[in-house]
């Protein structure tokens, strides 16, 4: 299913998937079956669907973590599986937030957030300024020196959000970002996520089981049996 720019409103296409196929176990399990998808700059897109329908796989393809068996995935107009510099994609163009926060437990909140800047070779002072800015907005300023074990679930996920945004990516790929949180914390973290995305002007593609959260995105895509079956404009 292809959505043209006119339908989506004016804007630059930052993510594109064309006839993407992906299978595992030597082709015995086909997860994506000819996916076509586009997202424009600044848009929030929710991917809904049952477990195993290919939501996470699609996010991994967008982030260059995996390559499609067939088809084409492009980020900012550059094909991902032929991207000359996948590191640049991971360091500067996309940020990941996972269901499990995936923070390094023995490091502090600050050190965890600085990891992408170390990878990118950002100057320490610049990185710290950025971290303080993000920490202020996520309400984590008072927790910067705390180890991850000392943080609550919500704080950990907010930390993961900060880390994902440290290098000012244009695209945020969130895989069940509130999946491990209770209802109240989930609502708080999601509100913060949407606020940060709007403030930073980031394109969000979020895989979620939570229909309520998904409906608050600009678009809601239903995935089933390896295909995007419908495109619903939530707003």
């Amino acid at each position: 299913m292809r959505v043209n720019e006119q339908e989506m409103g004016r804007g630059r296409v930052v993510l594109r998937a064309e006839d993407v196929w992906k299978s595992y176990d030597e082709g015995t399990i086909t997860v994506l079956k000819g996916i076509a998808f586009e997202a424009i700059e600044g848009q929030t897109v929710a991917l809904c669907g049952p477990s195993g329908c290919g939501k996470s796989t699609l996010l991994h393809l967008f982030g260059g973590l995996d390559a499609p068996d067939r088809g084409r995935v492009a980020v900012n107009g550059i094909e991902v599986n032929r991207h000359r510099n996948l590191l640049r994609l991971l360091r500067h163009e996309v940020g990941f937030v996972f269901q499990l926060h995936n923070l390094i437990p023995d490091l502090t909140l600050e050190e965890n957030c600085l990891i992408p800047t170390v990878a990118a070779g950002t100057k320490h002072k610049t990185a710290l300024d950025r971290l303080h800015q993000l920490a202020d907005r996520t309400g984590l300023s008072h927790r910067l020196g705390h180890r991850i074990q000392k943080l609550s679930g919500g704080e950990r996920q907010r930390t993961a959000l900060c880390r994902a945004l440290m290098n000012r990516p244009k695209i945020l790929l969130a895989d069940e970002p509130t999946g491990s949180l209770d209802e109240q914390t989930s609502a708080t973290v999601f509100a913060l996520l949407m606020d940060m995305v709007a403030t930073e002007g980031v394109t969000l593609v979020m895989a979620t089981h939570d229909r309520g959260l998904a409906e608050r995105c600009d678009r809601l895509l239903e995935m089933h049996d390896g295909r995007i079956h419908e495109v619903q404009y939530a707003r």
Binding site: H60, R91, F96, N102
Partner: protein, 370 residues
């Protein structure tokens, strides 16, 4: 800074494992340092015996050990007459045993030999040396372990000798040795008319090349080598040095295996963490650098600890009276540098496979790994 913190954090996370790796390297380094230093000290002492007040050693060509060298007395007498030679001293080496002491080095020397003429005599009169065939002079330590004084009769090998003096030297071999008149030693060891070496002192040092050429021309069965040349080329020294480094190398190999084991465990237990670093933009090189950094840190700590332990151990050995003079604890900077570099290389080698494994981790697969 965070990169370094990642390295240190992982080592701190498994303190006991890291400590065992550091200890492995430390023991290897200490072993290598101790063995190499002791053997080099021993070589130094042995070469010190040969170079005592001399610059050139003449001995039988192509012998594997100086104890098997036979230099004719006639040659020694003729060489001593050469104008460029200030003095030429024939020395016969032998190994004897005494009650409770299976190995005692015996030196057959003339009264004019520097070992007798210039040594510090603790007891006895140097003028009495070589007046009787059964007279011997003992090194200080030999007198101590034989419980002998001037005037004592001591059993050495199949005979009994009369102690006429005790002398003190800085050389462990000499201090624990027995000095006999050359003729007595030749008779005792059934080497009449020969010596093991002739130590040569030239009138002018720049005549060394000319002297060696004359030896080659007039005595084809003999060879003359300057002291430094001898130390480099004498096969026994080379074997000893090679053995010392080989023993130390084996120790380091074991230490390296310890590091490899630690680093493999380190990588296998944090596959997901490495995947997270990759997702956050860490390159394969950065991941590899992190693993090598950990092993390098283990090696550095191990090398420092090993050098400290090894040095203390050597100083401890030096304090043992029985080893007095045998252990030369002159730590050579080059040896220490080589040991440190070898320890680092061992650490790096131990991290090769773990680093290669970590660099190949695919984030997408590792993230599914719970």
């Amino acid at each position: 800074m965070i990169f370094l913190k990642l390295i240190v954090t992982n080592l701190r996370r498994h303190r006991i494992r890291s400590f065992i790796s550091v200890a492995g390297i430390a023991f290897s380094v200490a072993a290598m340092l101790t063995v190499v230093t002791i053997l080099q000290g021993a070589i130094g002492m042995f070469s010190g015996i040969l170079s005592s007040d001399s610059e050139i050693i003449v001995f039988e060509r192509n012998v594997s050990d100086l104890f098997f060298s036979n230099v004719p007395a006639a040659a020694a007498a003729q060489i001593a007459e050469w104008p460029m030679v200030q003095h030429a001293d024939a020395v016969l080496f032998g190994i004897v045993s005494s009650a409770g002491h299976p190995i005692i080095t015996c030196f057959g020397v003339t009264a004019a030999d520097a070992r007798i003429a210039k040594a510090t005599w603790i007891a006895g009169d140097r003028a009495t040396f070589a007046q009787h065939a059964d007279d011997v002079v003992l090194g200080e330590r030999a007198a101590e372990f034989m419980a002998a004084n001037v005037g004592s009769f001591v059993p050495i090998g199949h005979a009994t000798f009369h102690v006429i003096g005790i002398l003190k030297t800085a050389n462990g071999f000499e201090d624990g040795g027995v000095f006999m008149p050359l003729a007595s030693a030749q008779s005792f060891f059934h080497k009449e008319g020969t010596s093991s070496v002739i130590t040569i002192k030239l009138r002018y040092k720049d005549q060394a090349a000319e002297f060696k050429n004359m030896i080659k021309a007039q005595y084809p069965n003999l060879i003359g080598l300057e002291d430094a040349e001898f130390n480099r080329s004498y096969s026994q020294f080379r074997i000893l040095k090679a053995t010392a480094w080989a023993v130390g190398g084996c120790g380091l190999l074991l230490g390296g295996l310890g590091v490899a084991n630690t680093m493999i465990m380190s990588v296998f237990t944090r596959i997901r963490e490495i995947a997270i670093l990759r997702v956050n933009g860490f390159s394969r090189l950065q991941i590899g650098g992190m693993i090598f950094g950990e092993s390098a840190l283990v090696s550095i700590f191990g090398a420092v600890a090993g050098l400290t332990v090894g040095t203390c151990f050597l100083f401890g050995l030096k304090l043992i009276p029985a080893l007095h003079g045998y252990v030369d604890v002159t730590l050579q900077p080059l040896v220490m540098l080589i040991v440190i570099v070898l320890a680092l290389l061992t650490g790096v080698a131990g991290a090769l496979y773990p680093a290669a494994y970590a660099m190949r981790i695919r984030a997408v697969e590792a993230l599914r790994f719970e």
